[in-house]
Structure formats: structure tokens, C-alpha cells
């Protein structure tokens, strides 16, 4: 097959363009590490992507151009449309979905390469064992990321309502992992894999992604999403090696290592190891934690709570997943603006794993229009609770539970928390009286200085606004 331009010219041009792509990606990601330059960063990386895609049409010896254009239009068009309409509260599942697509694409590349080896087609590159092993490893990781991310999407979207757990589940997962790796090794060792081997290999890897993700609960999703992001990066890098594509190798590894670091950060913020998140269902054996609760839950009317805040000097707001569910971020910011106009100092305290993806709460607050300099993370804000008159907890639970500091028998002992209990008064907006995701009683709710405001976060925020206005 003849390429679009002479092969020698095309190869040099493509190599140079990929160098540029790698440079633009790294500059873009670098810019994304500061809120001031982040917007520019994504545009820079976007230019890189555009250059890389356009230049790739020049690859020597390529055909199927009509198919290619249709595929880009279909995939890109659907993603464009869905990306524009998705609500900010649904962002975690969309990112999981796009990430899974990347993993699937990496697996598809490997599938084509392995099938070409299997068919022994004329002119097909007969890869050596190292390259075949990389192709298989990328296929494995990419396929797990693909099906795993789809399950994560289903869970976050509410399509899959419960976590599936059964005895010996870890053993079954281990067995599937071993079988997949074994089959992969056989493919590499044989040098000429059969069609059945390739199909079986992919089927097993896809099943593993499903069985691995199904038991993982919603609150662990920040860890899972960033882990699969790292997985996809690695898979892309491995397939980049197979295709001798430097842009894929560099971009994939950079993302893989960045994603790994982020995953570790997330796991650390929950005081759990990655293995613990993946392989043990949370909440099992947590029943004992209800002991030692003294006092009672003390409800308060929104009108009284509003007055309390209106006359405070300093209010720290702690949003959690409940705020996202109730879409309350706009009302909450409206409330805070009223307080600020009254001369109250308002700060937002964000726990690293609040919500369903890393930084979820920051996105929602940004959507509502909260300037980012009012938002603090755990280390910055924890010293300030002593001087706060009111800590307003909105739909957060485990991340403010003081037993993480005090009760060694608690499953969340040692997890870094926001010290809301140190504030003079604590207001908790909560839908009902149930325990949090982990099933652990929250001792914060029973403290003498805590008052509970029951109801949907958006409705309560609206009532608080009225109360603050009425307070003059």
C-alpha cells in the first residue's frame, strides 16, 4: 500500500512531530499544576494532540482511510457531545468512561498486532518475544482498565446499585489473574499464537476488570478512578513500544507515573493501602464501632442555625458527597456570599477523598463560582478549626469522624480527618439519621456542641439563606 507522501519524508516528519507532541504534553501538564496557568495547559496539550493526530495520517503503508475518518468522527463526536452536556456532579463517571475508552483502544491495538501474528499474514511484522510480551502486557492492563472503568461508570451512574461480594472472591480474582498471565506467557513463548489463545486471553482480562471492580464501594472510587487512569497510561506506553511510537511511550509513562502518585495520595488520605482498597470490602467487621457513643443527636431548626452563622465571626464549610447528590453547591455559595457580606469570614475545607473522584468537591465549588483562594485542603485548614465559631458539615461523614483520631479499634483509625469537632459549634446538614458509607457511627454528631439539621442539602441551604437574611 502506498502512503500519502513518500515514506522517507513522512517518517522524518512524523518523528519530529511526535517530539513536539511529547514536549507540548509535558509543558501542558506542567502548566496544569497551578490554578493560574491550568487553562493554558490543557490548550497546549490539545494543540499537541491535534498535531500528533494529523501527522499520523502520513504514516507510510497505511490504508483504510475512509474507515478511519468515520471512526474518528463517531468516537470524537459522541465524546464531544457527552462531554459538553454532562453535569459537573456527574464528572467522575464521565472521566472513568473516557479513561476506559483509552484502555480499550490500547487493548484493541494489541489485539490487531497479536491477530496479525496469529494469521501470519504476509508483510506482518513478526515480533520478537520482548515486543510480544509488551504487547500482551499492554493488552492485559488496557483490557482490565476498559472493563473496570465501565463498571466504575455503571456504579457511579447508579446503573449498578450494589457491591457484589462473596466468600472467596479474592481467590477467584487471583485465579483469573493467574490464568490470564499464564495464557499471555503462552502467547509470548509460542511466538505464533493461535486465534483461540488470543481470544481467550482478552476474554479473561476483560472478565478480571469486571470482577475486580464490582466489590469496590462508592467512597473508594477516587482511588479506583486514578488507578485505572495510571493503568491506561501504562497500557498506552507498552503499545507505543510495540508500534515504535515515541509520543505514545512518553505520554503513556508520564501519565502512568503521575497516576500512580495520585493513587498513592488518595489511598494515603484514607489511611489504607492500595491492596486494602482493591481486595477487601470496606465495612466488614465494623459493627463494633458503634460502642462508646454517649449523648444524643440534637436537631436544630434551619432558622436557628442561620442565626447562629449570621452572628459568627468565622465559618468553615465542609462539603461532602451529600452536597453533590443534592446539587447544593450553588445554594451553599449563595449562603456563604450573604455571610461574607455580613462580615463573616468564610472558608471551605476539602478532604482529599471527599466525593467520588480526586478533587471532586473543588470542581463543584468552582462551578458554583467559589474563588479557589477560599478553599483549603486538610493540612492548611486543620489548625484553624480552633478559631472557628461554626463548622458547617454538608453531606460529609467519615472524613470528619473524630474516632479516626481516638479509637484504635475503629476501621478508620489513623485516617487523616478534618477536625470539625474542634470548632466552637458544629452544624451538620444530613439527609437522615443513618451511618456513613463505612457504616461507622460518627461521634461528631453526638458531641455537646453539635446540632443536626435534617433535610436535603439544597433545601436546607435555601432555608438557611432565608434565616440569615431575616437575621438582618
Amino acid at each position: 500500500m502506498q502512503g500519502l507522501v513518500p515514506a522517507s519524508v513522512a517518517t522524518v516528519a512524523i518523528d519530529f512531530s511526535y517530539l513536539l507532541v511529547a514536549f507540548l504534553f509535558i509543558m501542558g501538564l506542567k502548566a496544569m499544576s497551578s490554578p493560574v496557568t491550568a487553562r493554558r495547559g490543557i490548550v497546549v496539550a490539545g494543540v499537541g494532540m491535534l498535531i500528533g493526530t494529523l501527522m499520523s495520517f502520513l504514516y507510510p503503508g497505511m490504508g483504510n482511510f475512509p474507515l478511519m475518518l468515520v471512526a474518528i468522527a463517531v468516537g470524537g463526536g459522541l465524546a464531544w457531545w457527552s462531554g459538553r452536556i454532562v453535569a459537573m456532579t456527574d464528572m467522575p463517571q464521565m472521566i472513568a468512561l473516557y479513561n476506559g475508552m483509552g484502555g480499550g483502544a490500547a487493548a484493541a491495538i494489541a489485539a490487531v498486532e497479536l491477530l496479525r501474528m496469529a494469521s501470519g499474514a504476509e508483510g506482518a511484522a513478526q515480533h520478537g518475544p520482548v515486543v510480544t510480551a509488551l504487547a500482551a502486557a499492554g493488552a492485559f492492563i488496557g483490557a482490565v482498565s476498559f472493563s473496570g472503568s465501565l463498571i466504575a461508570f455503571g456504579k457511579l451512574q447508579g446503573l449498578i446499585k450494589r457491591s457484589f461480594r462473596f466468600k472467596g472472591q479474592q481467590f477467584v480474582n487471583l485465579l483469573i489473574t493467574a490464568a490470564t498471565i499464564g495464557l499471555g506467557a503462552w502467547i509470548v513463548a509460542s511466538g505464533h499464537p493461535t486465534m483461540q489463545m488470543v481470544v481467550g486471553f482478552f476474554a479473561l482480562a476483560l472478565v478480571l476488570g469486571v470482577t475486580m471492580t464490582l466489590p469496590i464501594g462508592g467512597a473508594d472510587m477516587p482511588v479506583v478512578i486514578s488507578l485505572y487512569n495510571a493503568f491506561t497510561g501504562l497500557a498506552v506506553a507498552f503499545e507505543g513500544f510495540v508500534l515504535e511510537n515515541a509520543a505514545m511511550i512518553i505520554a503513556g509513562i508520564v501519565v502512568g507515573s503521575a497516576g500512580t502518585l495520585l493513587t498513592q495520595l488518595m489511598a494515603k488520605a484514607m489511611n489504607r493501602s492500595l491492596a486494602n482498597v482493591l481486595f477487601s470490602g470496606f465495612g466488614e467487621g465494623a459493627a463494633v464501632a458503634a460502642e462508646g457513643v454517649t449523648g444524643a443527636l440534637k436537631p436544630i431548626e434551619p432558622s436557628d442555625a442561620g442565626v447562629m452563622m449570621a452572628f459568627a465571626q468565622k465559618v468553615i464549610v465542609i462539603p461532602g458527597y451529600g452536597m453533590a447528590v443534592a446539587q447544593a453547591q450553588h445554594k451553599v455559595w449563595e449562603l456563604c456570599q450573604l455571610l461574607i457580606d455580613k462580615g463573616v469570614m468564610v472558608r471551605f475545607a476539602i478532604h482529599p477523598v471527599a466525593g467520588r473522584m480526586p478533587g471532586h468537591m473543588n470542581v463543584l465549588l468552582a462551578e458554583a463560582g467559589v474563588p479557589y483562594d477560599l478553599i483549603s485542603d486538610l493540612d492548611e485548614i486543620n489548625a484553624e478549626f480552633d478559631t472557628a465559631d461554626v463548622a458547617l458539615v454538608i453531606g460529609a461523614n467519615d472524613v470528619v469522624n473524630p474516632v479516626a483520631r481516638t479509637d484504635k479499634s475503629s476501621p478508620i483509625y489513623g485516617m487523616p480527618i478534618l477536625n470539625a469537632d474542634k470548632a466552637k459549634n458544629v452544624l451538620v446538614i444530613k439527609r437522615g439519621q443513618g451511618a456513613g458509607f463505612s457504616g461507622i457511627e460518627n461521634h461528631l454528631f453526638y458531641l455537646d456542641n453539635t446540632r443536626m439539621v435534617y433535610g436535603d442539602a439544597q433545601k436546607v441551604a435555601a432555608e438557611l439563606i432565608q434565616a440569615v437574611k431575616a437575621a438582618g
Binding site: 471512526a71 464528572m91 491495538i109 502512568g256 502518585l261 480526586p358 470542581v363 474563588p371
Partner: protein, 100 residues
């Protein structure tokens, strides 16, 4: 072009780069970081294009086609949502300037 030890060096240097770029990021930027890196691995699209471009049999073409659809979805979707989120991040100073 890239073989043997050279590839290992590339792996290693890129891994350090990734680690270096994003260590010490504030929590507020975890989402742009993750979403942005999610977009960056959308470069898998070019690999999928090559795979489809070289595909001969109908089966290879089907898988290659799926690969390009998925890769394009990753790249475009990742860009759109990251851009949408980032344009919302503003400081108090920027807000005052806008309303003024």
C-alpha cells in the same frame, strides 16, 4: 528507531518527569491533573489509527475501527471535560476584575 536499552532509558526518564511534574500538587488541582492526564493518554488514538491503517482482514479492521472510535473518544472527551472544569477555576481577584 527506539530499541533495547534506549527504550528503557526513555521509560525511566519519562517516569521521573511524570513524578516530578505532579508531586506537591495542592488538592484543589487533583481533578485537572487527573482529567488532564486522562486526556494526554488519549494519544493512544494515533496508535489505533496506525493499527487500523495496517489492518488487512475484516476482523482486524473491525477491531482497529473500535480502537480508533475508543481512542478518539478518550482524546476528545478528555479534552472537553478538562477544559470545561478548568475554565471554572478562578481566584477572588479574577472575579472582581470580571464583575468590574
Amino acid at each position: 528507531m527506539i530499541d533495547g536499552f534506549l527504550a528503557l532509558y526513555l521509560f525511566m526518564l519519562a517516569a521521573f518527569t511524570g513524578h516530578e511534574i505532579i508531586s506537591r500538587v495542592p488538592v484543589i488541582l487533583h481533578t485537572p491533573l487527573m482529567s488532564g492526564s486522562n486526556f494526554v493518554h488519549g494519544i493512544v488514538l494515533v496508535g489505533a489509527m496506525v493499527a487500523l491503517g495496517r489492518a488487512d482482514t475484516p476482523l482486524e479492521q473491525v477491531i482497529g475501527f473500535i480502537g480508533v472510535v475508543l481512542g478518539a473518544g478518550n482524546a476528545v472527551g478528555g479534552y472537553v471535560v478538562t477544559e470545561r472544569m478548568l475554565q471554572m477555576f478562578k481566584s477572588s481577584g479574577q472575579k472582581k476584575k470580571e464583575s468590574a
